[in-house]
């Protein structure tokens, strides 16, 4: 059985249309139960339904389940089953965090625990699901027997938290997630890999792109719904799992550079993990719908604060600038994929 690209495209279109239909219904439901937040970057601070990410994440999980049935080989089926398990748990964790609030230490800690199935099921019977042989540019396939497993522990935790930390403006998380999943899809055509990795690289990334696109239509400026931690943690975890099971780890690290830069600068300026609500000094202040950088030295250095340091900007301009940076690193990621191709051919 070979990979049927037309089938993947059809399933992705179904995922996109379903998300387009489901998202407003999720928004209505969240509003009815009072799960709403204020869009603080607008003059009138409108009320917007939160936790809308549950809609597209449930559709994505169903698409992964469908993928198990159409997968061309047993390894792909097993990989999708582990992805489905981990992402279901991450989605539930995100939902719990949206409604009950987890502490700043507890959230990444639990995400590390949730990535354990990836390590536990590295081999099922004779089928190897994860091999510590990532492809590196210039070098080709490299054996990292110890370091790989140490890094694999963070495959869910790091991208999930990074995606969560960039979910600060209308459409920034969903838009950047779309660009990165599309990069993963294109990279799977550039790097010649074995069928099971190509299937994950194409199926899991195109379906992720499709559901995120459907959600982004409502989440883009001016947002009609917020993803919440359910959506942002789930999206980040999906990207991490696509990286490891699609064997495009290095490509995804490059595609996530803006996310890493944002998280890294926040964590280093705050000198550790702190919950958003516990940070007294805000990185930016909003005056008449325009975002200004805080002059407070103690305030965390976020990407948004850096972007508005020179000139105050409105939310739409900031989102465009974030997405243009993500687009730029995605181009770098595809160049990296091409270098990797040259290294293994």
């Amino acid at each position: 059985m070979t990979i049927n690209l037309v089938q993947i495209i059809y399933i992705s279109i179904i995922g996109f249309v379903t998300t387009l239909i489901i998202t407003p219904l999720v928004g209505k439901y969240m509003r009815s139960i009072g799960k709403i937040g204020h869009d603080v970057h607008k003059v009138d601070r409108p009320e917007v339904p939160e936790s809308g990410g549950i809609g597209f994440m449930v559709i994505y999980l169903i698409l992964l389940l469908v993928g198990i049935f159409i997968a061309p080989n047993t390894i792909s089926k097993y990989r999708l089953a582990v992805m489905l398990t981990v992402l279901t748990l991450v989605t539930l964790l995100g939902l719990y965090d949206d409604f009950r609030q987890l502490s700043a230490i507890m959230k990444p800690g639990l995400l590390v625990i949730l990535s354990l199935p990836v390590l536990i099921f590295q081999k099922i019977g004779d089928e190897v699901l994860v091999s510590p042989t990532p492809i590196l540019p210039f070098i080709g396939e490299t054996r990292l027997s110890i370091a790989y497993w140490f890094l694999a522990v963070f495959v869910v935790s790091v991208p999930s938290n990074a995606s969560n930390m960039l979910d600060v403006m209308n459409g920034s998380m969903s838009g950047s997630g779309m660009l990165i999943s599309l990069t993963a899809f294109i990279a799977s055509f550039i790097i010649p890999l074995e069928e099971e990795s190509l299937f994950i690289g194409r199926y899991a990334s195109l379906t992720l792109f499709a559901v995120l696109f459907g959600f982004w239509i409502y989440n883009r400026y001016p947002a009609k719904i917020f993803a919440g931690d359910t959506g942002s943690l789930g999206t980040g975890a999906a990207i991490g799992l696509i990286a490891i099971y699609g064997r495009i780890e290095f490509v995804m690290v490059v595609a996530l550079l803006v996310h890493i830069m944002n998280s890294f600068s926040i964590l280093s300026s705050l000198k550790g993990l702190r919950e958003r609500h516990d940070i007294q000094e805000r990185p930016v202040k909003v005056i008449d719908g325009v975002v200004h950088a805080s002059a407070d030295e103690k305030a965390p250095i976020t990407l948004v604060r850096l972007l508005v340091a020179r000139k105050p900007l409105n939310e739409k301009e900031i989102v465009n600038r974030i997405l243009s940076l993500v687009f730029f690193v995605c181009v770098l990621a595809l160049i990296t994929a091409y270098i990797m191709r040259r290294s293994i051919l």
């Binding site: 590196l136 540019p137 210039f138 070098i139 490299t142 054996r143 990292l144 370091a147 290095f250 690290v253 490059v254 550079l257 803006v258 830069m261 890294f264 600068s265 280093s268 950088a293 250095i301 604060r305 850096l306 972007l307 340091a309 020179r310 000139k311 465009n320 600038r321 243009s324 940076l325 730029f328 690193v329 770098l332 990296t336 270098i339």
Partner: protein, 90 residues
Amino acid sequence: MSLIKENSPFVGLLSAVWIYLLGLCLLIGYLVVPVENPEYSYFFTLLIGVGKIIISMAFILLWLLSWYKILGYIFIYEQSIALKNSESKP
């Protein structure tokens, strides 16, 4: 294109980080090649292995540290431009 121009300090930083990352990968890739010299004792081979990991970690830390420092400089630079612009206004 204009968006890339407006983001030039960040585009420059990300490009530098990417090039360093490629260099780092080349270095780590070179360092992780197993030592298989029959003349070396087990202890010496182990020592070389640990040494390689320490060197790789040192370069990764240097990468993160320089990234953090440059971010700080960009922030100061951006703020200085903002200050200059506000002073030039009547």
